[in-house]
Amino acid sequence: MLTNHQPGVAEKHSEAPFYRPVADEADVFRAAARRGLPVLLKGPTGCGKTRFVEAMAHDLGRELITVAGHEDMTSADLVGRFLLKGSETVWVDGPLTRAAREGAIFYLDEVVEARQDTTVVIHPLADHRRELPVDRLGTTVPAAPGFLLVISYNPGYQSVLKNLKESTRQRFIALELDFPPAAIETEVVAHEAGIDLATARTLVTLGDAIRNLDGSGLREVSSTRMLILAGGLVAEGLSLRRAVQAAVVEALSDDADVVYALGELADAILPRT
C-alpha cells in the first residue's frame, strides 16, 4: 500500500488545546510568527513541546501540519512525489509543500531523528528566501504569508551521532522548554488527568524528587506526560501507589535494582495508607 510511506500524521485541531504558559514563551512564539521566523523548540521528552505548538497554532488560527522525523524519511516524504493514477503520473504535494502553499504551521517533531541530508530541504524555507524549490517539478514554491516552520528536538537523550547540523540550527530562533515549576505542573496534571489538586501535588512532588536525583543511573526522568498518565490511572480508580508503579516506576527502568530503589522512593513520598 502506498499509504505506508505517507510521512507522519497530518492533523487539524478544532478545540483549544490546554497549554499553561510558564514564562514568556508564548510571547516569543507569537512575535516570531508575526515575522515568520522559524522556531526551534528544545526540551526533554514529555515536557509539552508538541502541546505548546498545538496551542499556538490554535491561538494564531492557522492549520498545523505535524510530521515526526524518522531515520527513513527522504526529502520526497517532505516535498512530495509523483504517484501513479491510472496510466498517468500525478504530482502529490508533500506535507512541507502543502504547508508552504497554504500558509500553515509546519511542525517537524524530533528533527534529529531524520537524516541530516533530509533536513537540509527546509533550509530555503528557514531563511530570508522563504521558498521551497521543488526540483522534480522544476519550480519554486514561495511560502504563503502565514507559513511558519517549527522544529523540535530533545538535546538530552540523543546520541552524539545525532545532532543538529550547525547550518540548520543557526537559521532558527530557539526556545528552551523545561518541565514547569511545581505549582504550574500541579495545575497541568490536575487538569489533564482530571484529578484533584492534592493528588496532583503528590505526583508532582514525586516527579520532582526523581528529576533531582543526581547520578541515579536513569536515562530519562519522570516527565509531565508520565505524571499525567499516572494521574489518569488514579482517575480511573487505581490506588495512587499502583498507578505510580505502573506509569512511573516500571516505565522508567527495566533494571530490577532501579525499579526497587524507585519503589522505595515512591513509598516514602506518597502518603501512607
Binding site: L2, N4, H5, D72, T74, A76, R81, F82, L83, L84, T89, T205, A209, I210, N212, L213, D214, G215, S216, A256, D257, V258, Y260, A261, L262, G263, E264, L265, D267, A268, I269, L270, P271, R272
Partner: protein, 572 residues
C-alpha cells in the same frame, strides 16, 4: 531481587540531596555515614534498614554533619550522642512535612531545637537530653570525609560557577610555603580566567599558552589530563617512544611483492630488562599460502550456538532500497520504473525495499598459533593444533556468514629474523574449499614469538579491515617462546604489543582451545577478561558474545574509520 540495602539508594539520594551510596556495616556495628556512603547495620530487616537510611541521609541533607559542627564533636562521645539525639529528632521533624515516611517513622515527641547550631549548644549544656533510639546509629566525626561543594554529587552553587578568585588566592599561599621546587609562576590576571566551568577552561588554557606560563607538572588539577602529542619531528626520541614498523620491499624478478600478496615489516620489540624498545628487531612477513591443496579434505563443523551468539554483536538495522523483492514497496524506485516504462525503457523491476539487520561493523582477524608446541596431543590423540584449527575454521565460517569482515592468518617464528604470517584467508578473499584445504595442510613448526605476531596482525587489521570495530582473536596454546624470547621478557613484550593495539583502537581476545598445558602465562598477559580456555570450541560458544563484547568494551569507543580499504559490502 535486590539483595541488601542497595535498594534504598535513590531514597537516600533524595533525602540527602546529593549522590550517596549504600553499604552494610560489619556485623554488630551501628549505622553511620561518612558523607559519601551510608553504612546501615547488616543483617537487619528491610524496615529497620529503611529507617536507618532515612535518618542518616536526613542528617546529611539537614546539614547536621556540616564540618564546622562536627569538628567540635571529635573525640567527645558523650557530646556526640546528645547531639545526635537532638539532631535526629530535628531533621526528621523537618522532613516530615514533605515526606510521609519520615512522619510515620519519627519519634512522637517534638524536637527541642530548630537548627544544628542550637542543637550543638544544647548538647553542650546540662539539660537532660533523651537518649537516641538505637536505630539512630552513630555519628563518626573522624570518618566524615572532607567534602567541598565542588565535588561530584553536590549541585554546583553560585560560588562554584563564579570565577574563583578567593580560592585561588588561598592556593597561592600554599604555593609559597611549598618547599619542593619553585611554585609555578602564574600571574594573578591569568587566574581570573580560570573557572571550573569547562567552557571557560579552554579559554584559560589558551591564555596560559599564549602568555607562556604553562602549568607546572605537579599542579595538575584533579582528573587533569595531560596529552602527549607532538606535531613536530624530534631529533631524538625517548627510549619509551614506540618505533614505527619499517616496511620491507620485496621484489620478484618481474613484479613487486605486493602484487603476489607478500608484505612485511621490521617491527620493534619491547625490552623489559632495559625498559626500552628495540627498533627494527623482528622481521615479520605475511604472505598468501599458495600451495596446491587437496580440496576434498576440507570440511568445517558448523556451530549453531556460536552463530546465534555472534550474530548479536555489532548489528544495526539497514534499509535496502531497490531490491528485487522485499516486504515493502520502494515508491521512489516504483515511480522511476514507471517513468522509465512510459518513456520506452524497460529496466529491471527492482521496486521493493527491505529492512534487515545486517549493518555489521566488526572486523575480525583470527591469528592461529601454528608453532611446533601445538603438536602436543590430548587424551583422544587429537593434536592441540587440530583443535585450534577446527575452532578457527568454525569461527571464520560463522563470522563470514554473518557478514563480518574476517581474515585468517597463522603465525610461527624461527628466531627474530623470520616471523611468518601465512594468510589462509585475507580480508578480501572468501573462505572457500581451497582455503579450508590449505588450512588442513598447514603443518605446525617453529616457535611462538607472540609479540611480533600480534604487532604484524594488528597492522594488517588496521590497514585492511575498514570497520570501526576491530578485534584480534589469538588462538594459542600457551607460552610464548622463541630464540631469546621467553619468560618475563616474552610476557612483557606481548603485553606491550597488546597495549599498543588497544591504544590504536583494536580489541584483543585470546582463546586457548584444547590446550592441556597451563595457560596461566596467557591469562596474565591478556588479562582474565581477554582470555578464555576450554577443551573445545563448543564449550566456549555459548559465551562467545560476552567474550567478544568484553574485549571490544575495553576500548573506550570505536575508532573512526581510518583505513584506506573501503568495506566491500556496498553491493550486498
Amino acid at each position: 531481587m535486590t539483595t541488601g540495602a542497595e535498594r534504598f539508594r535513590l531514597l537516600a539520594m533524595f533525602v540527602a540531596n546529593r549522590a550517596v551510596e549504600i553499604a552494610e556495616t560489619r556485623p554488630g556495628e551501628p549505622s553511620y555515614t561518612n558523607g559519601e556512603v551510608i553504612f546501615v547495620a547488616s543483617g537487619r530487616s528491610a524496615d529497620e534498614q529503611r529507617r536507618e537510611v532515612l535518618l542518616q541521609s536526613a542528617l546529611l541533607g539537614g546539614g547536621s554533619l556540616d564540618p564546622r559542627v562536627t569538628a567540635s564533636l571529635r573525640a567527645r562521645p558523650r557530646l556526640t550522642r546528645r547531639y545526635l539525639s537532638l539532631e535526629g529528632r530535628r531533621v526528621l521533624a523537618e522532613l516530615a512535612d514533605r515526606l510521609p515516611l519520615a512522619a510515620a517513622l519519627r519519634p512522637d515527641d517534638q524536637p527541642a531545637t530548630m537548627t544544628a547550631g542550637e542543637s550543638l549548644e544544647k548538647a553542650r549544656g546540662r539539660t537532660k537530653v533523651e537518649e537516641a533510639p538505637e536505630w539512630f546509629g552513630v555519628i563518626r566525626p573522624s570518618r566524615l570525609l572532607p567534602t567541598t561543594s565542588a565535588e561530584h554529587g553536590a549541585s554546583p552553587t553560585r560560588r562554584d560557577l563564579h570565577t574563583q578568585i578567593d580560592q585561588l588566592e588561598a592556593a597561592d599561599d600554599e604555593d609559597e610555603d611549598d618547599e619542593d621546587g619553585r611554585p609555578s609562576e602564574r600571574s594573578k590576571i591569568l587566574k581570573l580566567f580560570e573557572s571550573p566551568v569547562s567552557a571557560v577552561e579552554s579559554l584559560a588554557d589558551y591564555f596560559r599558552k599564549l602568555l607562556g606560563s604553562a602549568r607546572s607538572p605537579g599542579n595538575e588539577d584533579v582528573g587533569g589530563h595531560l596529552q602527549v602529542r607532538a606535531g613536530r619531528r624530534a631529533r631524538a626520541v625517548g627510549s619509551n617512544a614506540r618505533p614505527l614498523p619499517t616496511r620491507i620491499r620485496f621484489t620478484d624478478d618481474a613484479s613487486p611483492g605486493a602484487a603476489v600478496g607478500v608484505a612485511g615489516a621490521l617491527f620493534p620489540e619491547w625490552d623489559v630488562h632495559n625498559n626500552r624498545y628495540r627498533p627494527d628487531w623482528c622481521r615479520v612477513v605475511d604472505f598468501d599460502l599458495t600451495d596446491a591443496a587437496d580440496v576434498s579434505t576440507g570440511g568445517v563443523i558448523h556451530d549453531d550456538v556460536l552463530r546465534r551468539r555472534l550474530s548479536r554483536i555489532g548489528l544495526g538495522p539497514k534499509t535496502l532500497r531497490r531490491r528485487p523483492d522485499g516486504d515493502d514497496l520502494d515508491i521512489e524506485a516504483l515511480i522511476d520504473l514507471f517513468v522509465d516504462l512510459r518513456s520506452g525503457h524497460s529496466p529491471a523491476e527492482h521496486v521493493y525495499s527491505e529492512r534487515r539487520q545486517l549493518e555489521r561493523n566488526l572486523g575480525v582477524l583470527i591469528l592461529l598459533d601454528a608453532s611446533g608446541s601445538a603438536t602436543d596431543t590430548d587424551a583422544d590423540g587429537l593434536a592441540v593444533h587440530e583443535h585450534q584449527r577446527r575452532a578457527a575454521a568454525t569461527m571464520v565460517v560463522t563470522l563470514e556468514e554473518l557478514g563480518d569482515r574476517v581474515a585468517f592468518y597463522a603465525f610461527r617464528s624461527h628466531g627474530r629474523h623470520s616471523v611468518q604470517l601465512p594468510a589462509i584467508k585475507t580480508f578480501g578473499q572468501r573462505f572457500g574449499a581451497l582455503g579450508r584445504a590449505r588450512l588442513n595442510q598447514l603443518q605446525p613448526s617453529g616457535y611462538t614469538r607472540l609479540g611480533a605476531g600480534i604487532r604484524g596482525a594488528g597492522e594488517i587489521l588496521k590497514a585492511q579491515a575498514g570497520t570501526p570495530n576491530r578485534l584480534l582473536v589469538v588462538l594459542s596454546d600457551g607460552f610464548p617462546y622463541d630464540d631469546g624470547y621467553e619468560g618475563r621478557y616474552a610476557e612483557a613484550d606481548t603485553h606491550k604489543a597488546l597495549e599498543e593495539l588497544r591504544t590504536d583502537g583494536v580489541a584483543c581476545l585470546c582463546l586457548s582451545i584444547g590446550a592441556a598445558t597451563d595457560t596461566e602465562a596467557l591469562e596474565r598477559v591478556f588479562g582474565s577478561a581477554g582470555h578464555a580456555s576450554a577443551p573445545n570450541l563448543a564449550v566456549l560458544s555459548p559465551h562467545m558474545d560476552e567474550l567478544f563484547l568484553g574485549a571490544l568494551g575495553e576500548l573506550a569507543a570505536p575508532q573512526a574509520l581510518t583505513s584506506q580499504a573501503a568495506p566491500a559490502r556496498a553491493a550486498r
